[in-house]
């Protein structure tokens, strides 16, 4: 019998072939035994510039390019390695010291082994991605060495050897190979970095230099800073004493969670912490209409806002009304945490099932039944930890502070109130107090009340503009670094001197219409530099009008898939802060070459309609074009020009035509049920040189010209959406706004009914629009706007999506009452519009310059879905960053005022939008800010410093406040009430943000 078994030992080929066996669990639950063969080769380069051999044998890629060596020929030396060294970190070195590797001050010339990279991918995807990013950066010189494919460095797993041991051996083998492979004479040291004691010994036994991260960092410069950046999560494991009291319950096992999720007794969702009560969170799960409430630390069980968690519904006895109290971490003592008492009842599976039904019933019931289903976290599917900006709690630095360099544990209090304090160990406690500090969370074990993290870097002193702005950008994950050189290389070589080619035989003119003769103008906010859009209108012989919307042709300058395009994809949108704009595209394009500035020829993408005087659309067409804008107006200037009876030139006439058409379009839209929503928007005009910065804060005025532009932009977006959807039925980039579930409005509706006798009809957007119109209180004209602001918050947010991922009826944009919608009109500041431009160019068969770059991504649904996800995320963050920036600005302005004239707040109108047991939330339209009003912030007639008492009438949303013993002098506020408040800036006293000022709102005695 001839043996059929492949015997690697006796096979003559055996030294170049090996195999790897593992079990793969497929999504459908199937198990596959997978055997992959590994073909070993000896031409994988070491990529050191010192190596005389590898460049000659290294294989070329598909284009025939031999990759250039990465590792420096003169690597940096340290005290221990004066001749220079290459680093070979193992997996746990990356796990514990990722921030170190990213530090610009150290860690150059690193060999990332394939073994390590694969292990890292299995253990932590974010860290894997960060490592990949490092290998791509040229300056750090990280080289991925495919040691598992190289004959000399591949090792076979021994019988009975664990995978970890085998991988450790592979790391040692690779390091040894490097030190033997490189020319002996000038060979730098090859140093294995590992945080595993056993591996350290193995490496030393194998004759390889090995260091633990800590020991290695100790011989670098800047020791203290670098040491602080090592993760606390794992390295402490060995020397940590007996685990103390276990504060938190254990998570369920992975398989138990999966079984529970499948059976529908456990649920998965994103954990959100209430901004008013840090001990209360909610999780929206697919099974129920309304979110489940999670009360108390024990129930939230180490979940941090943003984590994807698995929850279990608690028995009905433990259901609670959502808290009507403001609880802030800073005001609470650690000792009196209102932890929830939990009696662990044994619940059978049947009862657990029945419980799910109960939840549905309770969610369906009107809100009078105040007791709401609660749940507890039993597992975490995915941590969504990021870097957090905060301040070091000076109270936590302890008395050791004076002893200098000693390592101590301090609390980092994040800016985001929903994030718990983070314990970090640092040697620089003294320097860090009073600074904005970036830190990350490493772990949160059962025996620590707060998560453990480590220092990443310091942004600078608190309250300084630079530090605060950077903090804000970091918190909202805005990419604010200057554009790298690779991006700038993609700009036109002519720079600012670029002009539309004069000769119409130039390739730039192919497929482009000459619309220079049209009387085009742009209308934008004052001081706008990135002009995306321009308009024109002219009468046609048949009595109709031709209207054109001309959008900057950004896609002409940003070619698909180059560095600039990738950067723009990642940024997603331009972020507008009060005093800063973080551009999506380099300045040259945004404010010059693309911007439709007046009196200069520019490339545009034009949408033109024939419109009847009654604003009915007869036809639409699209073309790339060249335009010459006659003027750039601000809204006010345009309005004045239109209103000026003496002006009768063609441009003014065309603007008047546009205005009257836009009003008719708007009417039609409102007829169809479009919502007129409001958000608390203020604008800040910083260019004015007035002494009082507060006067810069302007609420957005709404002129007729605003809505003129808006209407035509909506029209253009809708028209383009239809066009691209017909060309890309599966992959058109559209924007939708889902109808909000009626349950979202339940609370607001109840409040309106009780307080004002209004009722919202949420059956359709039309019904809602009509009922919102009826919410008018003649005595309080702002109330309607207030209700609109609050209604907006009840809605889902609009999102970009790929047409193939939703059924056609789901395309609807609820707020605009449009069947289909997209973004086309702001390609300079939104990436979605740029993509839509490309899709439209393809849809109309544009064949001119640039059409030779085919973007395969336009037809790739999964890629587009990824892009959409990122765009939605960036869009939301940009909005929040903008708002936070205004808040900061208002605070600064108030502070400036407070400094010049102490104790003089500014008295303005405020409206109560939420009432709690121990305070209220007041919205100040003048500054577009809202703030908490605590009991102490009520000005009471003749009151002293006595303790405040309060009474909360939950049914009437009314709060009564008085000083102890003086109930007769009580003040009371109720929901929607108009108040006189004094807004001022004052330094915070709490530990949370020592030295940080906050906007204080005081309710004045009426």
């Amino acid at each position: 019998m001839k043996s059929l078994k492949r015997n690697f030992k006796s096979d003559s080929q055996s030294n170049t072939i090996s195999s790897k066996t593992f079990v793969r669990s497929t999504k459908s639950g199937k198990l596959q035994k997978v055997v992959s063969e590994i073909y070993l080769r000896s031409d994988i380069p070491c990529s050191s510039k010192l190596c005389p051999l590898c460049p000659s044998i290294a294989p070329a890629d598909a284009n025939g390019n031999v990759p250039k060596p990465i590792l420096s020929s003169r690597p940096a030396g340290t005290k221990a390695f004066p001749a220079g060294h290459y680093l070979v970190p193992d997996t746990n070195a990356f796990m514990n010291g990722m921030d170190l590797f990213e530090d610009p001050g150290a860690f150059y010339d690193v060999i990332v082994l394939q073994t390590v990279l694969e292990e890292l991918k299995n253990r932590s995807l974010p860290l894997y991605n960060r490592t990949l990013a490092l290998t791509r950066s040229e300056e750090k010189r990280f080289y991925v060495f495919f040691n598992e494919f190289r004959l000399e460095t591949y090792i076979r797993r021994n019988e009975g050897e664990s995978i970890n041991d085998r991988n450790d051996r592979a790391v040692v083998r690779a390091a040894k190979w490097y030190s033997e492979h490189l020319p002996r004479r000038k060979c730098p040291a090859v140093v294995v970095l590992t945080d595993d004691q056993a591996n350290l010994q193995k490496a030393k036994a194998g004759g390889v230099t090995a260091y633990s991260l800590r020991d290695y960092v100790s011989c670098l410069e800047n020791v203290d800073r670098l040491l602080d950046m090592i993760s606390e999560a794992r390295q402490g494991q060995e020397d940590r004493p007996q685990p103390g009291e276990l504060i938190y319950p254990e998570y369920y096992s992975n398989s138990k969670i999966l079984t529970g999720l499948k059976a529908g007794v456990l649920h998965q969702g994103i954990f959100h912490v209430s901004p008013y009560n840090y001990l209360e969170g909610t999780v929206q799960v697919a099974a129920f209409d309304r979110p489940l409430i999670i009360i108390g630390r024990e129930s939230s069980n180490r979940a941090i806002s943003g984590d994807s968690v698995v929850i279990e519904v608690l028995p009905k006895e433990q259901w609670k009304a959502p808290s009507s109290k403001i609880i802030e971490e800073e005001t609470l003592n650690q000792n009196d945490n209102p932890e929830v008492e939990e009696t662990e009842a044994v619940i059978t599976e049947k009862e657990r099932r029945a419980l799910q039904e109960e939840v549905k019933k309770a969610h369906g019931a009107p809100t009078e039944a105040r007791s709401q289903p609660t749940a507890r976290v039993v597992g975490v599917m995915k941590r969504n930890w990021r870097q957090y900006v905060g301040t070091v709690d000076p109270g936590s630095t302890g008395s050791f502070a004076s002893q200098g360099r000693k390592q101590q544990t301090v609390f980092l209090v994040p800016m985001d109130k929903r994030i718990p304090k983070i314990r970090i160990r640092t040697r620089q406690a003294d320097e860090l107090v009073g600074k904005r500090v970036v830190a990350t969370i490493d772990s949160w074990d059962r025996d620590t009340r707060y998560p453990v993290g480590h220092y990443v870097r310091s942004l600078g002193d608190l309250e300084t503009k630079g530090a605060e702005t950077e903090a804000l950008l970091l918190e909202y994950d805005v990419q604010y670094r200057p554009f790298p050189k690779t991006v700038l290389d993609c700009l036109p070589v002519e720079g600012h001197g670029w002009r539309v080619p004069a000769s119409s035989s130039d390739p730039g003119w192919i497929g482009r219409k000459d619309l220079r003769g049209l009387l085009v103008c742009s209308i934008d906010p004052p001081g706008c530099q990135d002009i995306d859009d321009a308009l024109h209108a002219r009468p046609l012989p048949n009595g109709n009008y031709e209207v054109g919307v001309h959008i900057a042709d950004v896609s002409h300058f940003v070619k698909p898939n180059n560095a600039m395009d990738e950067e723009a994809t990642a940024r997603g949108t331009t972020v507008y802060l009060v005093d800063k704009r973080i551009d999506m595209l380099p300045m040259l394009l945004g404010t010059d070459l693309c911007s439709l500035k007046p009196h200069i020829e520019r490339y545009a993408f034009s949408t033109m309609w024939e419109i009847t005087p009654d604003a009915d659309i007869v036809s639409a067409s699209f073309t790339k074009s060249v335009i010459l804008s006659r003027d750039a107006f601000s809204y006010e200037q345009a309005q004045m020009r239109i209103d000026d009876r003496n002006a009768s030139d063609d441009l003014t006439q065309s603007m008047r035509t546009l205005l009257s058409l836009s009003q008719k379009l708007r009417e039609k839209r409102m007829e169809a049920g479009a919502l007129n929503l409001s958000s608390p928007e203020v604008r800040i005009e910083t260019d004015s040189e007035t002494s009082d910065a507060l006067t810069d804060v302007k609420t957005k005025a709404s002129l007729a010209t605003n809505s003129l532009v808006e209407e035509f932009m909506l029209l253009a977006n809708t028209t383009v959406a239809k066009k691209i959807q017909s060309s890309f039925p599966q992959t058109a980039l559209l924007r939708r706004h889902a109808a909000p579930p009626a349950s979202n409005f339940a609370d607001l509706n109840d409040q309106l009914k009780r307080m004002k006798g209004f009722e919202l009809d949420v059956s359709s957007s039309k019904a809602l629009a009509d009922s919102l119109d009826k919410c008018v209180d003649l005595a309080n004209p702002f109330l309607n706007t207030l209700i609109r602001i609050m209604a907006t918050r009840c809605m889902t947010s609009a999102e970009y999506f790929c047409s193939g991922s939703h059924a056609e009826p789901e395309y609807r944009h609820y707020g605009l009452a449009s069947e289909i919608y997209t973004h086309f009109t702001s390609p300079i500041r939104r990436y979605a519009d740029l993509l839509v431009h490309r899709q439209l160019a393809y849809a109309i068969g544009y064949s001119g310059q640039g059409s030779e770059y085919v973007d395969e991504g336009l037809r790739n649904k999964s890629k587009l879905e990824g892009v959409c996800k990122n765009l939605n995320f960036r869009h939301r963050n940009a909005q929040m960053a903008g708002r936070a920036s205004i808040e900061f600005y208002v605070g600064q302005a108030l502070k400036a005022r407070g400094e010049t004239t102490p104790d003089s707040g500014i008295n303005v109108e405020g409206y109560v939008i939420r009432v709690f047991e121990n305070g209220a939330v007041v919205f100040v339209p003048r500054f577009g800010v809202e703030g908490l009003v605590r009991l102490d912030d009520f000005e009471l007639k003749g009151a002293g410093e006595g303790r405040r008492e309060s009474e909360f009438e939950i049914e009437n949303y009314r709060l009564k406040v008085w000083e102890k013993g003086r109930e007769d002098k009580a003040a009371s506020v109720e929901l929607f009430q108009k108040l006189n408040v004094r807004v001022s800036s004052e330094e915070k006293s709490g530990a949370r943000e020592k030295g940080k000022r906050r906007v204080r709102i005081v309710v004045l005695a009426s």
Binding site: M1, S3, L4, T21, K33, N254, S255
Partner: protein, 415 residues
């Protein structure tokens, strides 16, 4: 009665008669000079198909060769009620805590409460035999596969007598071993392939070869290690090295030298494989042996030519088990063979041509010595008894043919 080994033999009546006469001698005189219980040399290798959970390749000296591959999949058990089962488990846990439990701990430990333990279902094992020269619906194929499947599904009941009690222990069938929990089970696909050409002349009846190959494949089969527990949906360790044998190797004949060394450490030293279920029998997959009788002679592993003159052909299926409770203190864990089934197979001698006696010798209907007469089959009860005894072993000294075969196969697994 199974169909004969198909087509007729090419031997002449004279040759048949000669063979028959030789085999009726005491001891029988076999053409290849084997003793009556001696098997032809066999070669085997296991675990050769990389993507299978278990596999074996076996060949006999006559050139017949078989390959068996086993794949295991996780399947949801039909008709399982998630809620009910989870509930039951919960109650079970609670009731075990109560001292007033009606189930005695001893009984529970002995695994007697069989309603509680989920049992396997025969459908969980699919078996497919493929012989290249035969059509898929060939009767022989169907009968062969049933012949191989049947012993895998049957269970034997043995009676163990200890000093105090007599307990009837039902050994678990292969299907029972596939239970993961009340909602999930492993499904085994056993694919059996006869590699050698199957011709009427020259190759022997393939049943024993296929049975031995299946036995070896099953014993080399490994299932991924489960990380989930109890009623949870199965979740497995992705490291193949950590997978577990479906049939844990018996401790004495451990495959690694170091674990046999540890066996000497003393009576307290437990063997490396945790006892699966105390009190239950550790079973081994069955084997089916082919035995023929000639007059009162019993001949094991008949060759093709020997079969042609068999009075009766028997397929004897035997399973093996070692009792984990009673034999802990023995260094040698005896694999006790248990009879599962005896099937008769139609003898090919039935279809042979009758010999024509020399002139003058005609005695119609009577046996003429030296003149071949087709056999009609049938075996005496007494002979049958002896067959069973020879297979299972009559006494402590005589371990029986089944044990010998088992030990012989063991050597291939160890190599």
């Amino acid at each position: 009665m199974m169909p004969a080994t198909s087509t007729a033999t090419t031997l002449s009546p004279a040759e048949l008669s000669y063979l028959h006469t030789s085999l009726t001698q005491t001891p029988p005189l076999r053409p290849d000079l084997r003793s009556s219980t001696e098997f032809r040399p066999l070669r085997a290798e296991t675990d050769l198909l990389p993507t299978c959970n278990g596999s074996a390749h076996v060949s006999l000296t006559d050139g017949s060769e078989a390959l068996v591959g086993i794949k295991a999949e996780v399947h949801r058990t039909a008709g399982a009620n998630v809620t009910k089962r989870l509930d039951e488990e919960m109650r079970e846990k609670m009731s075990l805590d109560e001292p007033s439990s009606t189930i005695s701990a001893a009984a529970a430990a002995a695994g007697l409460d069989s309603n509680r333990k989920p049992r396997g279902h025969p459908d969980w094992i699919s078996l497919n035999v493929d012989i290249s020269t035969l059509r898929d619906d060939d009767a022989l194929l169907i009968f062969l596969s049933e012949m191989l499947r049947e012993p895998l599904l049957t269970t034997s009941t043995t009676t163990t007598t200890t000093t105090t009690t007599t307990t009837a222990t039902r050994s678990s069938s292969l299907a029972d071993m596939l239970v993961i929990n009340s909602n999930w089970h492993w499904h085994l696909h056993i694919d059996i392939l006869l590699l050698s050409p199957f011709t009427a002349s020259g190759t022997s009846y393939p049943l024993p070869l296929l049975s031995l190959a299946t036995h070896l494949a099953l014993r080399s089969a490994r299932l991924p290690k489960l990380k989930s527990q109890g009623e949870e949906d199965p979740l497995v360790d992705d490291d193949w090295e950590s997978s577990l044998f479906l049939f844990p190797p018996p401790p004495t004949s451990a495959r690694k030298p170091e674990s046999s060394a540890s066996g000497k450490a003393g009576p307290n030293e437990q063997h490396s494989i945790p006892p699966r279920e105390a009190g239950r029998l550790l079973t081994m997959p069955p084997i089916t042996l082919l035995v023929m009788t000639v007059n009162s002679n019993i001949i094991f592993d008949p060759s093709h030519s020997e079969l042609a003159v068999a009075d009766a052909v028997l397929a004897v299926s035997v399973s093996f088990s070692s009792d984990t409770t009673t034999h802990h203190h023995h260094h040698h864990h005896a694999q006790t063979p248990t009879l599962l089934a005896v099937r008769t197979i139609e003898t090919p001698a039935r279809d042979t041509m009758r010999g024509v006696p020399a002139a003058g010798e005609v005695v119609e209907g009577d046996l003429v010595p030296g003149v071949w007469r087709p056999r009609v089959g049938g075996v005496k009860r007494e002979v049958l008894k002896r067959v069973v005894r020879a297979v299972l072993g009559a006494s402590a000294d005589d371990s029986g043919v089944a044990r010998e075969v088992f030990d012989g196969l063991e050597a291939f697994l160890r190599s």
